[in-house]
Symmetry: D2
Subunit: 354 residues, 4 copies
């Protein structure tokens, strides 16, 4: 499994249609308009401006979490490492799925803050309350890192979602062992838009101790909105943001974007578009007898092509190679807020023609 | 000395004219145009796109450093901690002025990467080659952190600049003790535009082992362009960027901005505007018999007002309080790329009327 | 798997005979004599004394590695974290068996120095050159921690040993991928004394880039002798020792002990005794039809008792519980330099009587 | 200022009498006897044995702190870094005198755990409550590391002591700003034995949140006994000890030593001897008109010799050079638990003869 290897080496080819990830384009036009409109205004720095305040208020309202703290950071790895560093004592470890972004895709960013990532093996990207229990319900042992936090992703790195029941069960184990539950929501929009997911934004706030609402992959230029629900996790969070290089000087850029996302439901709308595009492609794949490696319920499809199929489609479409086998190759295909219907139709035709 | 305290607590007041820092507005219109124009394009992620490649090529050309590596990061603290972490071994310290951004304004970000910041006392923000020599020319002592890197800022946190002669002298000591020289250029534009500064961009590249060209404070939405000249400091820099949360998913945003900055000299032009505005205000202050705390040669003025003067001006203008004395208060006033001439004229009239 | 849980909770019971680990007694009498003899002497501190110099010279001679650096540290975890921190850059990971001490038994000590431990699954405690190749022979990927070092233990945490052929094969992969090979020798004495092991001390020095010769578990009060063979790993090691709290003020205590260990072969002699005691017990177990969980070739036996057998023996003997099953319990039994033959005979009788 | 430079470079010369530090000899004979007596006993590991329990109980009793936690570590740097890492959150700094051991003599060990050491300038080694207040009574500022802990040494690195009144005043400021007070007691014995010091061991426990009782410099082979009085600082301390490499396998070595130290007052007795020896030398120096750089009230004298005087005495005596001036050299002279009266008499004669 490796992300973006193709992207890194590919020449920029403007005739290609890119499905390799969900951050190939800039920003949703409505958000861009707001950035343009507010560009000449003067505001105070570092997220102390009125746009950040407004965006935070709207998010707390949608979360039905009036006492939550909301902070805005630029990117996912930055957000993960800042949250985790702010919570754990030195000897504490974060428990995560073996497929979790912090375990596989952040260059040891969590370890660089001093903490072990204890992984729970998973094929699907999801872990269960019982798997977590097996890891945390162990005798006191000063020779091992102590579980200090549970990390999962909604949606997962493989496009799956946790149901409300699953999340509640995980939270119950977390509570039993006095561990906060932190949900990486880099793709939360696509999870909330999935038919397989019965959780709402306020449901997330009810269940999680801390989570974030991903902007980068759902149509922002960049940005992740951290929602800290648990009172005990709030103290001095902005210090840690600054220390980790995550306090944006022109913080209002984050406020403007998240205000535009949430004041009229734009975030949910564009996420739904992304999922809808993926579901159309999924149907075409299934109809063509092509396998999907994981349950495809959000904006990510993991498709098992023959090498022939892959090469043929690669003339026009870019996917992210995931696992190369002898006869087949699994690739990741992402749709997103910006995926064009005409491109999807073209791709569907191409799949039919394989 | 404390930055942005006023900003943090101030209500957003739209009748105010803000001089408290150099990041109160969004982005230069010409750069904004480019962001709008390129918004719908698809590119690969994490800085592997053609805009980053183009911007890097232009910068290397201007630096007359064809073999340099150029990387783009989002903010100053992030850039400082990433560069320093990439260079030092665990027991090595960075030598910096006591007023250096890494020593005073980054919440222990460098220490959080494991390294001591050894400070050289300075009243002015600048340090000399001889001061550095006194710190690094010491007997081997395994009980003390070992000097591993020299850090200075151009322009300094107090608005001063190093001349070419001063930089060359510092570099000579650095070379003698086998220490790389790293220059924080968060406000490099304003330094290059200063009459007091005889160094060019290519001069910087000749003298420094690594430096960066600040975008955030010179008219970008955000962004710092790191130029690594010393071959030995290049290896695996992108890994460290990723690990520290500094590899922007939509990296092309940085490429687009720095391409726009440097393809036609826009960066130099807007920096010159910022300095020019500051020099006009400086003249008014001097004429009014108001003292400046440090030599004012770039876009930052440190002004010693009486409390009466400060209160009067604060009705309309925002400055950053720096040092409160019994009879006077020293404040920082910043101009920048976006400072309006009419606002400067108004302020000058107000100063005359004090 | 958990170490010393029994030990931690057990009351001190002087009628018990302890086989739970290999550090239950103080120090070998011959070494104690030397500590007593030298006690009143004045020496310089921090390992700069003549005893350390002498011990280092003897060890280099035995290793046939005249250019090696030898340093003395107090304990195993300290030694592992110091060596690893001294070698790796921030984004680099250490590759280790999933059973490795640094992965399971050091409370995240390596992660606390900022580095990921990438584990290779193993049932036996050993890993192969091919397993290592599979982990390190991967495309450049800035999103993943980069392999920077290979860690194995000789003997392993489960009592196994690597043969010369196996070590040479591992070193070949290490060399191919420009990775140093670091061997944790906390129980190196018992490995060298094993019939299953055809490597000598000088063989270790030929193959490894850095390794250590464990004293704590082989009859010292405490102490591990680090042998750095690879020139590139030597620089400033004492700084890192000091920084990590590992530079003992009265360093001569380490010099005196290791000099006593190696000037006349005492180390090899006592290690051989420990292994011999284990082999006698092993024979009794096999004769009694009791299973051993891993190949038992050094001083550690992992014995699968029925619960009945375990309880019966526990009245007089202390073992370390390892894995509790429904019908059986696997325990660790350690002999060491101090194991008394009479105690072993008693235990053998007890095993026969089960 | 640099420690042990002389020691590091000096050849071992047995005709020399060493006063360069307080750890030139092994261990007090009474403690050595106990180590010999208990050597063959089997105990459980990692400080879970009965000797550690007994030593802890005696210390808690002497401290009149029945609810304190007592832990045993090997050395001072290790103890400092373990305590500080266990207390601070990532963005928090420790406040220390500029002369503090953690600031000057630990190779950035505290920074290596991620924390800034904010120093308060001092000429004497001591800092006052008012100096601390000036540093911690500042506006909330997320751009600066947040004070999280106060560190002082008793006795100081320059041989001074804090009186009860001074400590109580410091503790009052600490309490006011919700900062724990941590006292480095590497030389606590010599402080308690000083006529200038009116604090007892139980007084220390009443005033401090955490402190340690140094063994290494007062006659142990090695060892520091940490006393954690503040309930909130106790949690999981042993995990941090293990993680930092400070959990000694044969922990009973620490228990045996501290039991021997405190069961009959040996610690106080030998510390008093050390101070008495220093006071005799001090008198001779004063009589000879030779200056002392700091108030000399414990076992350390900082003596200002002419270069002639220094060279003459150096033929027979070893001191630690501290500050080399043009005409004079300041050296550190340490007495300790093992200083022989005959050596002191000889030295006094030599001083008289200068």
């Amino acid at each position: 499994m490796f992300e973006n290897i193709k992207a890194v080496t590919a020449k920029e080819s403007y005739h290609l249609i890119r499905f390799e990830n969900d951050y190939t384009r800039g920003v949703h036009p409505k958000i861009l308009d707001r950035l343009v409109e507010t560009n000449a205004e003067q505001t105070s720095g570092y997220g102390t401006d009125s746009y950040c305040a407004s965006a935070a208020a709207i998010i707390k309202n949608l979360c039905e979490a009036p006492h939550a703290d909301v902070h805005f950071l630029v990117g996912g790895t930055q957000t993960n490492l800042t949250i985790i560093a702010s919570i754990l004592r030195p000897h504490e470890a974060v428990i995560a799925p073996s497929t979790g972004h912090i375990a596989t895709s952040e260059t040891g960013a969590i370890e660089a803050t001093g903490h072990k990532v204890v992984t729970i093996p998973t094929e699907t990207g999801k872990i269960t309350a019982e798997q977590i229990r097996a890891v945390v319900d162990v005798p006191e042992n000063v020779h091992a890192a102590k579980p200090g936090l549970i990390f999962i992703s909604q949606s997962t790195e493989f496009g799956g979602v946790y149901t409300k029941e699953e999340l509640v069960a995980i939270k119950a184990v977390a509570t039993e062992f006095e561990l906060p539950l932190f949900v990486d929501g880099a793709r939360l929009g696509y999870a909330l838009a999935s038919e397989a997911c019965d959780v709402t934004l306020s449901g997330m706030a009810q269940i999680c101790d801390v989570f974030y609402i991903g902007g980068t992959k759902v149509g922002a230029l960049f940005g992740e909105a951290v929602v800290i629900v648990n009172e005990q996790l709030k103290r001095d969070f902005r210090y840690i943001m600054k220390q980790r290089g995550g306090l944006l000087a022109k913080g209002r850029l984050l406020g403007v974007q998240f205000e535009a996302f949430f004041k009229d439901g734009l975030y949910f709308e564009v996420a739904a578009h992304g999922v809808s595009m993926a579901m159309q492609i999924k149907k075409a794949l299934v109809d063509a007898g092509i396998s999907l490696a994981y349950p495809a319920v959000t904006n990510q499809l993991f498709i098992e092509f023959t090498h022939d199929q892959f090469e043929k489609l690669s003339e026009k479409y870019v996917f992210a190679p995931w696992v190369k086998g002898e006869k087949t190759i699994i690739v990741r295909l992402c749709t997103d807020w910006s995926t064009r219907e005409c491109d999807v139709q073209q791709l569907i035709e191409a799949i039919k023609a394989l």
